[in-house]
């Protein structure tokens, strides 16, 4: 096989579009910071968590690839690695969250003695430990993503199979670290928005959304590259598998979401129902119903069709929809804490998305041009090329 390297220097229009939206987004955020810091804080958290879940989801798929010694995903793995290696940059997005923490997290402002419920969990919810934990997640997730990418690209050069063995070992050790980081990150940044509320399922729920939407993102990125003439070796068989995984995680998200909702609804305990009561009022209720329909009932029957999964154009439409619905999901988690009376879209929601998304997009395109688009000397490459379902 011939090496394929993305020509990032001549990416042209995508670069310009990303740069323009990035600048517009950043300028918008700066103006927003001066006008309405509270709105910016929530909009920023929404955009940060959205892109963080997408990047972390890609890391999850790399971990699964190595841990299971999979072959089919070799051809698309470098794209995943390029997205996952954005995690360190993505984590820089947590800095405004920390700066605006007093706006975001009510518990941040409460002194000891003001709320006995908070006092009971001060050992966990305190400023220092919160920052230490965030740093821990940063080091763990960034470290795993970067080391795996380093070994993978090193194999392009030396072809040594030890790299595969090391990657497998790191991935296996990385799975529990990933699970704990994502869970407690979800507890800190999202569940902590209402420190009275709790759900043991929360980490699994955020994981389910991240994994499904990042597989959809992969479909979009691979198709984009194929349109530009790269990754022509990715066949309908690979699309079929990616589509099946999208289907599996579409159902898994619904299963986890339903279980969480149904159990809280059934038991009807005030300390738990507060989460859904907040999201089942006024226009939030309409958006919540839209989430359930859009994230499950619409993509599910479509993804059951084999023909659709093998058609890149059609699969991309569903994938784009799922990536959009992931944003809606994160929006419904974050925003009702700010606009309690109903759904109120704000221009800063778009500015923050544009700011973070464009910076990540630019870095992604730049990163694509540094290495081969395919791990050319991976020992499972032949199997991946000859894939049949």
């Amino acid at each position: 096989m011939q090496p394929e390297v993305f020509d990032s220097k001549h990416a042209g229009i995508p670069y310009l579009i990303l740069a323009a939206t990035g600048v517009a987004g950043i300028v918008g955020c700066v103006i927003g910071a001066m006008m309405d810091g509270r709105q910016l804080a929530f909009s920023w958290l929404f955009a940060f968590i959205y892109f963080f879940t997408l990047c972390a989801g890609c890391l999850f798929w790399i971990l699964v690839h190595h841990a299971t010694d999979a072959a089919w995903s070799v051809l698309v793995r470098r794209v995943l690695e390029n997205v996952a290696s954005l995690i360190p940059v993505c984590f820089l997005g947590i800095i405004p969250v920390l700066i605006y923490a007093p706006f975001l997290f009510h518990w941040w402002n409460l002194a000891p003695g003001e709320d006995p419920l908070l006092d009971a969990k001060r050992g966990y919810l305190n400023h220092t430990f919160f920052i230490v934990r965030t740093l821990l997640y940063f080091f763990i997730l960034s470290g795993v993503a970067l080391v795996l990418k380093r070994l993978s690209t090193r194999q392009d050069g030396d072809g040594n199979t030890w790299n595969s063995v090391y990657m497998r070992k790191i991935a296996v050790a990385g799975i529990p670290l990933f699970a704990l980081s994502l869970t407690f990150g979800a507890f800190d940044w999202l569940m902590g928005l209402d420190y009275h509320w709790f759900s043991t399922m929360w980490g699994v729920y955020i994981f389910a959304g991240a994994a499904g939407s990042s597989m959809s993102l992969l479909v979009l990125l691979v198709t984009g590259l194929r349109r530009k003439g790269y990754l022509s070796c990715v066949t309908m068989e690979h699309y079929h598998i990616m589509g099946k995984l999208m289907l599996a995680f579409c159902v898994f998200w619904a299963y986890i979401g339903f279980s969480q909702y149904m159990l809280i609804w059934y038991a009807d305990m005030p300390e738990e129902t507060s989460y859904f009561l907040r999201r089942n009022v006024a226009s939030w209720n309409a958006l919540s119903i839209f989430l359930v329909c859009g994230r499950f009932f619409i993509p599910f029957p479509l993804l059951l069709l084999q023909g659709l999964k093998k058609n890149p154009k059609h699969l991309c439409m569903v994938a784009g929809w799922i990536v959009f619905m992931q944003a809606v999901d994160m929006y419904i988690i974050v925003m009702p804490m700010l606009h309690q009376r109903g759904f109120r879209p704000h221009i800063l929601d778009l500015c923050t998305l544009a700011a973070i998304g464009s910076v990540l997009g630019l870095l992604f395109l730049k990163g694509l041009g540094k290495y081969n688009l395919i791990p050319l000397r991976d020992p499972r490459l032949k199997e991946s090329l000859e894939l049949t379902n």
Binding site: L117, A120, K121, Y124, D158, G159, N160, T161, W162, N163, S164, V165, V172, P176, A179, L180, T183, H196, F198, S199, T200, M201, W202, G203, V204, K244, V251, Y255, I256, S259, Q260, M262, L263, I264, Y266, A267, M269, E271, R377, P379, N389
Partner: protein, 470 residues
């Protein structure tokens, strides 16, 4: 590029190991697996059956005694209204999960190694579900009224409560059992035809022929078979998740501290797969040794199952930690008390046994040596089998024994009837499995042949090239 110019990459050999070892031919697979059914009943089988069947009879006697005398022969009493009965139900239904996971989910994800173990696991699933089904029926007390569980029209117009997860359980378990039987039987058809064709007696030929449904192995039949198998796999996959999720709803929809927590559905499913795989290994490792099936159930298969046990054991450990953490974080005094009571109360021995067996013991599978040493594997599987029973006991009994009203607190002890009913279900389970081994192929011959290197038209066995030159 010619083969001569390809150099192996530097570093260790990471080539995939074949799923059938020692270049065993397709005929060897047929002879060896069919031979288990066709040969004379071995002496060890009679010894084993004469041990398990009386135990099964003792279990049946206990059930009869309990039905005729009343639930009072058990140690259950308010507030502990559910104890060994429901513990055993959840234990057995959990074991019944691995079979369909292996046959359905691993089929859909194209895990070809499943072929060596799926048939025995599916059979194990059915027998485990039979054992599980006994307990909800007999624990209602008036067994002859158990038909009330089903929504049957009756002259009083009395219907079961459709909002109750206990009713969902009836639907979930019966659907699971039905689909599992269909799936198992569909997979059996080509192998039954093989046994029919090899039969030497007219009786065997008649019965195997009857159940082989006229299978001739034609192209059209295979096409229909594969479509049916795929559809059944697709139908079974949500059932694997739904059955134990519904079982978890039995507890989690309540407001009992220690029972009501949102992570229960996936946690129960992971636990079921965990316990199920341990039981698969518990049964298959001796069977493999007795029938010398090491070339079909290879170290690679054992290794992969150990990894699944490690993964699901760790997921269960994650769920235990989440429960404990949120019990503290949530700030609910009752919830906190329930968990502290589990770890340090009268049932602490059960709790720490559960933690040691379910979370700690599988961690040994991080090491390849331990995954390849059958004695260690067997020991861990026995720990997991025990641990998963203890888990259900801890969940059910500790939460009930010390609930909201301290004056009602009561430490539960089982009676001999409960103990022997449970032991009896092991007798039923093992007796059924022994009968299965004698009369049906315990390894899916047709499926194993498909993953054999000889099924690949490009495969060149060692020595084959030299033969063609001569």
């Amino acid at each position: 590029m010619s083969a001569a110019t390809i150099e192996p990459p530097p570093g260790p050999n990471v080539e995939r190991v074949p799923l059938i070892l020692n270049e065993r031919r397709l005929s060897w697979v047929t002879d060896r697996i069919s031979g288990i059914v066709e040969d004379r009943t071995p002496f060890w089988w009679w010894v084993a059956f004469l041990v398990t069947s009386p135990i099964a009879l003792i279990g049946l006697f206990c059930i009869g005694y309990q039905i005729s005398t009343g639930v009072g022969v058990w140690g259950e009493n308010i507030p502990v209204g559910w104890a060994w009965d429901i513990t055993n139900f959840v234990f057995w239904i959990g074991i019944g999960h691995a079979g369909t996971l292996i046959s359905a989910i691993l089929f859909l994800t194209r895990q070809r190694w499943r072929t060596s173990i799926n048939r025995a696991s599916e059979a194990m699933t059915l027998f485990a579900v039979i054992c599980a089904g006994i307990f909800p029926g007999i624990h209602v007390g008036r067994f002859w009224m158990a038909w009330f569980l089903a929504p049957v029209p009756n002259q009083y117009g009395i219907w079961p409560n459709f909002r109750s997860p206990l009713l969902w359980d009836v639907f979930a378990v019966s659907t699971y059992f039905t689909v599992s039987v269909l799936f198992w039987y569909t997979g059996l058809v080509p192998d039954l035809a093989t046994l029919r064709d090899r039969a030497t007696s007219r009786v065997r030929k008649f019965f195997y022929g009857l159940f082989a449904l006229g299978w001739r192995g034609s192209n059209r039949q295979w096409r229909h078979y594969e479509m049916a198998y795929l559809l059944l796999a697709g139908l079974s996959t949500p059932l694997v998740l739904s059955v134990h999720s519904v079982v978890s709803f039995d507890f989690a929809t309540s407001v009992v501290p220690g029972w009501h927590t949102t992570i229960f559905p996936p946690y129960f499913v992971a636990g079921a797969i965990f316990g199920g795989f341990a039981m698969v290994l518990t049964i298959l490792l001796p069977a493999r040794a007795i029938y010398k099936l090491h070339d079909v159930i290879t170290p690679q298969h054992v290794d992969k199952m150990c990894k699944i046990i490690l993964l699901t054991g760790s997921i269960v450990g994650y769920a235990y930690s989440m429960e404990f953490f949120i019990a503290w974080y949530g700030g609910n005094a009752f919830e906190k008390a329930a968990f502290l009571n589990r770890a340090f109360g009268p049932y602490k021995l059960y709790y720490w046994t559960m933690i040691s067996c379910n979370v700690l013991s599988p961690q040994i599978f991080w090491f390849k040596y331990c995954r390849h040493n059958v004695f260690i594997v067997y020991f861990v599987c026995m720990c997991v089998n025990a641990g998963m029973w203890f888990e259900r006991f801890v969940i059910i009994v500790t939460s009930l024994a010390q609930d909201f009203l301290p004056s009602a607190w009561h430490v539960y002890h089982p009676t001999w009837v409960e103990i022997w009913t449970f032991v009896g279900t092991f007798g039923i389970f093992l007796s059924l499995f022994l009968i299965f081994m004698r009369y049906l192929p315990m390894i899916a011959m047709s499926e194993v042949k498909i993953v054999s290197p000889f099924a690949d038209p490009h495969h060149h066995p060692p020595g084959a090239q030299e033969e063609t030159h001569h």
